[in-house]
């Protein structure tokens, strides 16, 4: 959707000690839930076009029962669409381009849809993909199943009714990542990194270019970049990576994980990037001591992943990838603030991220400190 390393900015609102992982995409998160917010007045042309879409999908006699715009930003809209089909009601989520510039490191909607299809066919738990539509009232869109459940990280780490889910999640997250990393990269040759021998080096170059675009000196981030250029391993495994696998992008029900969402940052990279990303402090939602997403220590997660893939990863080995994750998020937060400052997308949420990047800088420096000079 609209963010690059979107992700909640921890505590964007800063009104509670519990970090709410409110990244910019709270909207989008909310709209992924079963009970959407539905505030904006939906455009009539889009409504008509969505009516045609559901008829195309489910046949003559299908009626559009409801289409509400759940939220979105300059680059992406999300619509909750309810259809009455000859075989019963269907709940859809339609993601539609919004005209603004899309983050350059994100996939197009057409590409994201192809990744979602590949994941679905390989048995990854994802919302069922229905179809990509090149023209929905003038812009591309795709339709997928609208899953019920919770995506807001803060709630997932806190709510008592999700206690069993928290216990199940580490193993389930490992199982889904194992499947994702088993996807056939040759079939998804458009993914960033697909043609790079050393995708991690490419990532560092892209991040450095993004930092330069921010146009503001950040020596702490430079220091992390320098360390990563030295310490990130070479010649590691190359796999299809989700690119944003963490609480906030996972649909969770009482029994645990029901859907892996938000595939726009899929790429070919080192699977350890995906393993470390849910451990980045910003995605622990106030439970800093539980390194895996504020729900557990990483032991079970890594063990299960190792059993399934044969790739045994020690927690210490992930430190350098956790540093990479924090670097990504630090630059992501600054980039989001630039969207506001450049008037590409005026938003108080994006603006505040520019200052909250200081939290991520602090974490980068703590990790550098722990890692020794």
């Amino acid at each position: 959707m609209q963010s690059t390393l979107k992700g909640p900015s921890p505590d964007l609102a800063g009104w509670t000690d519990e970090r709410n992982g409110a990244m910019v995409r709270v909207v989008v998160r909310e709209m992924k839930s079963a009970a959407p917010l539905g505030t904006a007045a939906p455009g009539e042309a889009v409504q008509v076009a969505l009516g045609a879409c559901v008829e195309e999908l489910f046949g003559v006699g299908t009626k559009l029962a409801r289409a509400s715009l759940l939220g979105g930003g300059a680059s992406m809209e999300a619509w909750a669409v309810d259809a009455e089909t000859p075989r019963g009601p269907v709940a859809l989520l339609v993601r539609r381009a919004a005209g603004g510039r899309i983050y350059r490191d994100a996939l197009s909607l057409a590409q994201e849809f192809r990744v979602l299809e590949a994941a679905w066919e390989a048995g990854v738990r994802v919302p069922r993909p229905y179809r990509h539509f090149p023209d929905v009232a003038g812009r591309e869109a795709f339709a997928m199943e609208r899953l019920p459940g919770e995506t807001v990280g803060r709630r997932i780490v806190q709510r008592s009714e999700l206690e069993a889910a928290r216990a199940a999640l580490p193993g389930q997250m490992a199982e889904q990542l194992a499947r994702i990393h088993g996807l056939d990269a040759a079939r998804l040759d458009f993914l960033p990194g697909a043609r790079d021998e050393e995708p991690l080096r490419r990532s560092l170059d892209v991040l450095e270019a993004q930092l330069d675009e921010v146009g503001e000196p950040h020596p702490a981030i430079e220091l992390a970049l320098l360390r990563l250029r030295r310490d990130l391993p070479r010649g590691g495994p190359r796999r299809v990576c989700h690119g944003d696998f963490r609480l906030g992008n996972l649909m969770v029900c009482a029994g645990g994980l029901t859907g892996v969402l938000d595939w726009e940052f899929a790429h070919v990279g080192d699977p350890r990037e995906d393993l470390a990303w849910p451990m980045v402090r910003a995605w622990r939602f106030g439970r800093e001591q539980l390194r895996l997403g504020g729900i557990a220590q990483p032991g079970v997660f890594l063990e299960r992943y190792g059993q399934l893939t044969g790739l045994r990863v020690a927690p210490e080995e992930l430190r350098v990838f956790e540093l990479l994750g924090n670097l990504r998020w630090a630059i992501g937060a600054l980039t989001q603030a630039r969207r506001h400052l450049s008037s590409e997308e005026r938003s108080v949420e994006l603006a505040v991220l520019g200052r909250l990047a200081a939290e991520v800088e602090h974490e980068l420096l703590s990790l550098l400190h722990e890692g020794g000079a």
């Binding site: 800063g14 000196p217 430079e222 970049l225 949420e349 939290e359 602090h362 400190h369």
Partner: protein, 122 residues
């Protein structure tokens, strides 16, 4: 200008208005969230108005031993120049001794304005 309310008192007044009068009347979850973000932005602005100049001077003092003397200018311009020079050196692979410690101290200064609770949580 010594007139009151000062800039930081005005920021407070707006934040209190948002929290006490606007927030209770807003039902929409999305809008409530944005209101809280806006109130937080005003808190950051207030802390910056009150402490920003002192913290800039501290930042300059921490950066100064790591590079050349900054060109004349306001504290903000000098901090920016020192920070940019250090960023360029690190990009070239040169890390002056004491850099990590100085940057950790500076990150704490930034957090005193941006997110004081983050420091408390440790």
């Amino acid at each position: 200008m010594p007139d009151r309310p000062s800039a930081s008192e005005l920021a407070d007044a707006v934040r209190e208005f948002l929290e006490a009068e606007v927030l209770p009347s807003v039902q929409d979850a999305r809008l409530r969230f944005r209101l809280l973000v806006a109130a937080n932005a005003l808190s950051i602005a207030k802390r910056d108005l009150e402490m920003g100049d002192d913290l800039l001077r501290e930042e300059i003092a921490l950066l100064r031993p790591l590079g050349e003397a900054p060109p004349p200018g306001t504290p903000r311009e000098q901090a920016l120049a020192l920070s940019a020079a250090l960023a360029r050196r690190i990009r070239r692979g040169e890390v002056p001794s004491g850099t990590l410690e100085a940057l950790r101290r500076i990150a704490e200064l930034k957090l005193r304005v941006a997110s004081p609770r983050y420091l408390e949580r440790g």
